[in-house]
């Protein structure tokens, strides 16, 4: 047993569902108790998704437990097959239902007999892996399933596209800034004269998967999602992949150079140096920002970075190499892939922290007292408590990670966003500091003082206590309304009864 207050990565079924519901015309059946189907809420609320999330919980309750789940699961699969005729139905348990140790493969086999679409059991060990690993695994499983199917039917495409082309692998629903990153990557590839053969899984259909091998290479922007599929495609179809995250000016250039190498090794003749130079010096403001006087003020400032492998590693490099900021600690919660992280960041920071325990991360921040933090929502809150500004650079996702405006982290526009993020994080820290000095922060005590000092009315203790329970942002208004009400009626003491009567009269 582990005492846990917070999780950086979700449970496995979340990863599987992210993949399934990213595809078009794929439905997932989740074999789970009633309360486990919050994935639908997350997707609909965080992504402001307009369509019904294609995930149905086949509910495990007391009765199902007693009778066995097979009938119900099979019924739900075949029912969904008829109702929405998806191309594929993915069945997944949650860690809760996987404890039942049922033969789910058998359920799937039975359901397949009566279903027009394909039925697949997500092959994930729910006890051992987290959301990120499960997503990676499920994507690979689906890709493989359809390529093997095509191979059997002899429907695999022959040869490559005429012009250089790429698949972007790893864009998914509920991914951190994924949608905007994807737009930016497409733009980048188009600038490089590379066609987009497919983007998976977001927005793709499973029919498209058989055409994946037509692309010249696969681009895997995120370390956490897509690598398994890319490796499978390399092994089976000899497709090269590029797994350098184009985040920051230097890494973006490195990614582009790698693409050049991969394209030219297959008979292409491209030279991107001019493009890189132009983008770096004229399009991206980040390089200029690094040279500007603003950034000079950041030199040597201490920072702590924490996040998933992709973003924490990239951010560490940006801060250290491009902005001259002193990264005291770089950390990741991707424990399962810790070696890669160490290798990536050790030369750019003093300490490396590999941990899934937010308490440990918080303690490290408190000890180091950096000038800024770049982390997850959790570190943002740690920062709030310690009065250290924090830029959010990684999942767990939050409604703020789905801005309506365009905010990619990757590519050249991403470099501008990064520069803003870094600059604002540090300067907001300054502002906060100034506010503190000049007493600009609103505090609870102020209103209490206000009541006893400048008011001719007397507040009874219970009414005052109740007033204090009114949410801060309307408290002032409620207080004013109540006092007005009392004055109008010539009441001098505000009791709880008066307080409520005022609330009714004002209708607020």
């Amino acid at each position: 047993m582990k005492l846990a207050y917070w999780m950086y990565a979700g449970p496995a079924h979340i990863g599987t569902l992210r993949i399934a519901s990213s595809f078009k015309r794929v439905h997932a059946i989740m074999h789970a108790p009633l309360g486990d189907d919050y994935f639908n809420v997350m997707r609909s609320m965080l992504e402001r998704e307009q369509d019904f999330t294609p995930v149905t919980a086949s509910i495990v309750d007391r009765k199902v437990l007693a009778r066995g789940s097979q009938e119900k699961v099979v019924d739900n699969i075949t029912r969904k097959d008829q109702e929405e005729s998806p191309d594929l139905i993915v069945l997944t348990p949650t860690c809760t239902s996987s404890i039942l140790q049922e033969d789910l493969q058998n359920f799937v086999d039975r359901a397949q007999l009566d279903s027009k679409g394909d039925v697949l059991l997500a092959d994930v060990n729910h006890y051992r892996v987290n959301e990120l690993q499960a997503a990676d695994r499920t994507l690979q499983q689906i890709v493989r399933f359809y390529l093997e199917k095509a191979r059997k039917k002899e429907q695999l495409p022959e040869g490559k596209t005429e012009k250089p082309s790429a698949n972007i692998i790893g864009i998914s629903t509920l991914g951190f800034h994924n949608q905007h990153d994807c737009t930016e990557l497409k733009r980048l590839l188009t600038d490089l004269g590379i066609e987009i053969n497919a983007v998976i899984p977001e927005g793709a259909t499973v029919d498209q998967l058989q055409d994946l091998p037509k692309a010249w290479f696969n681009l895997v922007p995120y370390r956490e999602l897509g690598l398994m599929a890319a490796k499978y495609l390399q092994e089976e179809f000899a497709m090269p992949y590029v797994d350098i995250t184009p985040m920051g000016v230097v890494e973006t250039a490195r990614c582009i150079r790698k693409i050049q190498q991969v394209v030219n090794s297959q008979g292409g003749e491209v030279d991107y140096e001019g493009y890189i130079d132009h983008q770096t010096r004229h399009v991206s403001q980040a390089a200029w920002f690094s040279r500007s006087i603003d950034c000079q003020n950041l030199t040597g400032k201490k920072a702590v970075v924490f996040g998933d492998n992709t973003h924490a590693a990239a951010m560490t490099k940006i801060l250290a190499r491009e902005m001259g900021i002193h990264v005291v600690l770089a950390g990741t919660y991707c424990k399962y892939d810790a070696d890669w992280f160490r290798e990536q960041v050790s030369e750019y920071c003093d300490e490396v922290l590999i941990s899934e325990d937010n308490g440990e991360v918080g303690d490290a921040i408190a000890r180091i007292e950096p000038a800024a933090i770049f982390g997850t929502q959790m570190e943002r809150h740690v920062g709030k408590r310690l009065n250290i500004p924090c830029g959010v650079i990684a999942a767990p996702i939050h409604i703020q990670d789905f801005p309506v405006g365009y905010r990619p982290f990757l590519g050249y526009e991403g470099t501008n966003q990064m520069a803003d993020l870094v600059y604002n994080s540090f300067t907001l820290g300054m502002e906060d500091h100034l506010l503190e000095i000049f007493g600009g922060h609103d505090t609870k005590e102020v209103i209490t003082k206000g009541i006893s000092a400048e008011s001719d009315l007397e507040w009874a203790k219970d009414a005052l206590t109740t007033l204090q329970q009114v949410p801060g942002f309307v408290r002032g208004k409620v207080k004013r309304n109540t006092e007005k009400f009392a004055r109008d009626r010539g009441i001098t003491q505000i009791t709880l009864e008066v307080f409520y009567a005022a609330k009714e009269a004002v209708g607020a």
Binding site: M1, K2, L3, A4, Y5, W6, M7, G10, P11, A32, P33, L34, G35, D36, D37, Y38, N40, V41, M42, R43, S44, M45, R48, E49, Q50, D51, F52, T53, T56, A57, S58, V60, D61, L65, N76, E83, E84, T94, C95, T96, I99, L100, N130, Q377, M378, H381, K384, R385, P396, K461, T465, T466, Q469, V470, L496, E497, Y500, K503, E504, A505
Partner: protein
């Protein structure tokens, strides 16, 4: 409440479908705030923890008073000893937070692996010296708000008897502090005793934000009824005294187990009334309590009329409109009854679980209200199937759908006005004073869309959902 016997009876169906609602362990999110000296420990898996962290939007940040006891492979395969593991965690909690009570929230996993929380708790509590209350709020047996029911049902067992309190007060070094603390302390009330009529003790149950609870107590005080305590209280150490023969009344429709426990185990008398939601419900609730105590209620007519009058601006927006409840938090019947009284029609009330006995008075009032308003009775569908409901919504095109969060945006995108049911769980909706806040929520989508009208944005998806 008299119901004409020849009226058409309410129609109950059970669809036993796939429906969406929150897990009952979500009650932790509001109970830990309500009971200020508590610590809630959810014994479950990452799935449970991630739910609390995400879906509820309650992020477990600074100074949390709840946590997960995350079960790992060794716990599930029973390699580890549950007692020792829980002891280790609870000692840590005691050291770090020193709460007055630790509430263990069971989950589906503890049910499936048959972890004996109830057996372990008494021994451990004796060993570590902190009361441990066990509530099995799992998603196999309960939905959403029923989680609170499991906790309160368990806490009902811990309410002191009068004799416990007397002997305790002599030794209790905190007695002075208790006297000073704001609230329903019986000692505080003594000087004012004359304002109250003479009646047997009344304890109210249901977790409401403090201002709302106080408000309801005051409403009763106006009739001379004294509330001697609330379950839960603000602090675990101030749980209300309960004795055989005490009267109890609930404020929420999802508390049937708590009611049962209070009756069966604590030998209390339950006052079955409609719930104090909306001016009609509040009035009926006050009236029923008064009638049990043989008190003639004063001024309720005017009080109710005045509230209705003050809401007229909102009523004009909703009169004659229809509202469809997909079913989520078990407040559906009470809200539907109130909205029908407001002049709306309700074709369907979905509800995760319907306890017809505990909700009897509320159901009667619903029937009565439909008759009075001359509208047809809603279908009441227990454990609805959300997919089928969406088909029905497409056909009926209701003016408003009150729904769980998963369906709100997709319905909005199809031109259907929605309101999250969960808002009614968290908003302050009880009593006369707050009735307007219910309408504030109900009319918001209508007001918002009135503002947007003319932009031609009401349908944002191209194809309709396949029928």
């Amino acid at each position: 409440m008299t119901v004409a016997k020849d009226a058409p009876a309410l129609n109950f169906e059970c669809e036993t479908g796939n429906y969406h609602t929150f897990c009952p362990i979500s009650c932790v999110a509001w109970l830990y705030q309500k009971i200020e000296d508590s610590f809630f420990l959810v014994v479950g898996t990452k799935t449970c923890g991630y739910f609390l962290q995400n879906a509820m939007g309650v992020m477990i940040f600074a100074e949390p008073r709840y946590a997960m006891a995350e079960l790992e492979e060794g716990d599930i395969s029973a390699k580890l000893n549950d007692y020792d593991e829980l002891k280790r965690l609870c000692l840590q909690i005691k050291r770090d937070r020193n709460p007055s009570v630790i509430v263990w929230i069971g989950t589906c996993t503890t049910e499936i692996i048959k972890m004996d929380l109830e057996g372990i708790a008494p021994k451990l509590e004796a060993e570590i010296g902190i009361p441990i209350v066990v509530a099995r709020a799992n998603g196999l047996d309960y939905a959403f708000t029923q989680g609170e029911d499991t906790v309160l049902a368990a806490m009902a067992q811990r309410c002191p008897k009068p004799k416990d309190v007397k002997s305790e007060q002599k030794e209790d070094p905190n007695a002075i502090q208790k006297l000073l603390s704001f609230g329903r302390n019986s000692d505080n009330d003594k000087p004012q005793a004359s304002e109250y009529k003479d009646h047997p003790p009344l304890v109210l149950f249901g977790s409401l934000p403090d201002p709302v609870a106080t408000n309801l107590s005051l409403e009763l005080k106006k009739q001379g009824v004294q509330v001697s305590g609330w379950l839960p209280s603000k602090r675990y150490t101030e749980l209300p005294v309960i004795d055989e023969g005490y009267y109890v009344a609930g404020v929420n429709p999802f508390l049937s187990r708590t009611a049962t426990n209070l009756m069966r185990r604590r030998k209390c008398k339950l006052i079955g009334a409609p719930f104090p939601i909306g001016p009609d419900g509040t009035r009926a609730w006050v009236e029923k309590i008064c009638s049990v105590f043989g008190i003639e209620p004063q001024g309720l007519d005017e009080r109710e009329a005045q509230i209705w009058e003050s809401m007229e601006d909102y009523l004009q927006l909703i009169r004659g409109k229809s509202v469809f409840f997909m079913g989520d938090n078990l407040l559906e019947v009470s809200l539907a009854r109130f909205l029908i009284r407001c002049g709306m029609t309700v074709p369907e009330i979905g509800i995760p679980y319907m306890d017809k006995r505990y909700q009897k008075a509320e159901l009667n009032l619903l029937e009565q209200t439909c008759q009075d308003m001359g509208v047809s009775l809603p279908r009441i569908i227990e454990k609805p199937d959300n997919y089928n409901q969406v088909q029905r919504i497409n056909e009926l095109q209701p003016d408003l759908v009150i729904t769980g969060m998963a369906h709100a945006n997709p319905l909005e995108a199809r031109g259907i006005n929605t309101k999250w049911s969960v808002e009614f769980t968290f908003a302050q909706i009880h009593g006369f004073t707050n009735a307007r806040d219910i309408l504030e929520l109900v009319t918001r989508p209508i007001r918002r869309n009135n503002n947007l009208k003319g932009l031609g944005w009401d349908k944002l998806v191209q194809e309709e959902a396949k029928v």
